[in-house]
Amino acid sequence: MSALPSNNPYLPMVAEVVDQMEEAPDIVTLRLRLTEPHERDAYRFEPGQFNMLYLGRVGEVPISISSDPAEPELIDHTIRAVGRVTEGLVRLREGDKVGLRGPFGTGWPMQKAKDRNLLVITGGIGCAPTASVVGYAHERRDQYGKVTVLHGVRQPRDLIYGNRFDAWCDAKDTQCLFASQESGPNWKWHLGLVTELLDQVEPEAIEGMIMMCGPEPMMRAVAEELLRRGRPIDDIYLSMERSMQCGLGHCGHCQYGPDFICKDGPVFPYARVRKLMKVKGY
């Protein structure tokens, strides 16, 4: 009989929390480091990829990598506590251990976007996948043009990514615009839909590579608006989210038309998913 395979993609590696940063009341960035030196040395990722993080005795969830691929030893995950596993993950402290499998999936088209402006559109509450894009471009300022970030929320209190947005707004050649569907005290930005922000940015921004992450109806509305404005569909990318159990294209939970979001995505060209996104309950 042949020997058992040594390489088991279902088996987590061990990672240690080396830093823990609170972004907002229920959003935490965990900086992780693989404990095994050879695993650490071999680990590489791209912006937009994700890991499966395992919390002992509780469970495993997909979380995007939000740090810079140039420093693969330190892997950041910005996590919002929404349920069983994530609520436990955000309680972890320096020195705690988690299981880590990854990286998985295809990332943002950062090569294709070289020398171009970037239009990053996010929605909902805190959108980690796009953070990696902005961070990546900021680290390589000479390779990318202007970065424009449009962020839409339902109500002002959903705008909770405070520190990070402040840093982005202050960065060179970066513009941030916000929209809220409902008004509230001290809301000084746009009142309305994130699509309406497109009127407020300079035309060159819209000419850039477009990368989106957020609720599907929002992404679809923005993408369709951009198409109406004559943007080519090939310039529009978005990151999708589905339930994922394995990250390997085996468990079937993220099966989406002809794709598995975990391996064929999570970042897709809009053209690939446009038709299905229209269908309720797909």
């Binding site: 005795r57 469970g59 349920g83 069983r84 609520e87």
Partner: protein, 275 residues
């Protein structure tokens, strides 16, 4: 760190849910090491009046006094977990909700005027906010352990709401509905038991309550196709979880009249058949 204080309280019930805890064998001792069993009348003479971190409540609410008691338990407990069918739906004894209490009292008691009973046997969530519900008559020990362990780890217990059929098939059972026309409730019943009835080669009778996304009327039509009358269908739905909303409402629909053609349609006519 101080051990979390847990308590177990009984209301109108058969005690079976508590027995599921008492029969955890070695694991009962392990649990006792990890928590302070502050109140559990059936297991210990120590009776700490509270407050508690987690209270497990068994049974349904069927007397005025029980309303007061469950409210008190809620007041003195951080987390309240209802265990079992009675607590989740009023239980088997909610069958009386379909009739008239005075009939039951007169049928039963020589001096009914002295009996303190509410007209209906109801779930805890009808009276207080319940944090978690563990289904089943009785609940499954594996699910109970999972919930206890989750709460002790500070994690939300997510129990699946799918049909019994999935576990039935994982276990390799033969479908008694398809192979023997037994009126199996598995397709509309929530998983958790381990598909015990089909394993015993009999029909499921719904003791874990309605599944999350089932189609009760279609199964009723299937039973109809297997020879059950609408009255029989009502009776299938009105057993252990008769007062859980999906079964309650569907049984009312079936009481009011037919629900369309029996299933499956015979003989075959359409489509992918070479004639």
């Amino acid at each position: 760190m101080e051990k979390p204080k847990i308590s177990v309280h009984k209301f109108s019930s058969c005690d079976g849910c508590q027995v599921q805890i008492l029969s955890l064998e070695e694991e009962l001792l392990q649990l006792a090491d990890r928590v302070d069993i502050a109140f559990f009348a059936e297991a210990t003479s120590r009776m700490n009046p509270g407050p508690y971190d987690v209270s497990f409540v068994e049974g349904s609410v069927s007397t005025p006094h029980e309303i007061e008691r469950i409210q008190h338990v809620r007041d003195i407990s951080k987390v309240v977990v209802s265990i079992g069918a009675c607590g989740q739906s009023g239980g088997l004894q909610a069958l009386r909700n379909w009739g008239d209490l005075t009939y039951y009292l007169n049928d039963f008691y020589t001096e009914p005027e002295h009996i303190d009973a509410l007209p209906q046997s109801t779930a805890f969530h009808d009276h207080i906010d319940v944090d978690w519900e563990v289904p089943g008559c009785p609940p499954d020990q594996g699910q109970l352990k999972y919930v206890i362990n989750s709460l002790l780890s500070g994690a939300k217990p997510n129990l699946p709401s799918e049909a019994v059929c999935l576990q039935c098939k994982r276990d390799g059972n033969v479908c008694v509905l398809v192979s023997q026309e037994q009126p199996c409730m598995g397709p509309i019943t929530r998983t958790g038991c381990g598909a015990l009835c089909p394993h015993q080669e009999r029909d499921c009778y719904g003791c874990f309550g309605p599944q999350g996304g089932g189609n009760i009327d279609a199964l009723g039509r299937r039973f109809n196709g297997a020879g059950l009358t609408p009255t029989d269908v009502v009776s299938r739905l009105r057993l252990i979880y008769s007062w859980a909303e999906p079964f309650r409402e569907a049984s009312r629909r079936w009481e009011q009249g037919a629900q369309g053609a029996p299933l499956p349609p015979q003989p075959h006519k359409h489509g992918g058949m070479r004639s």
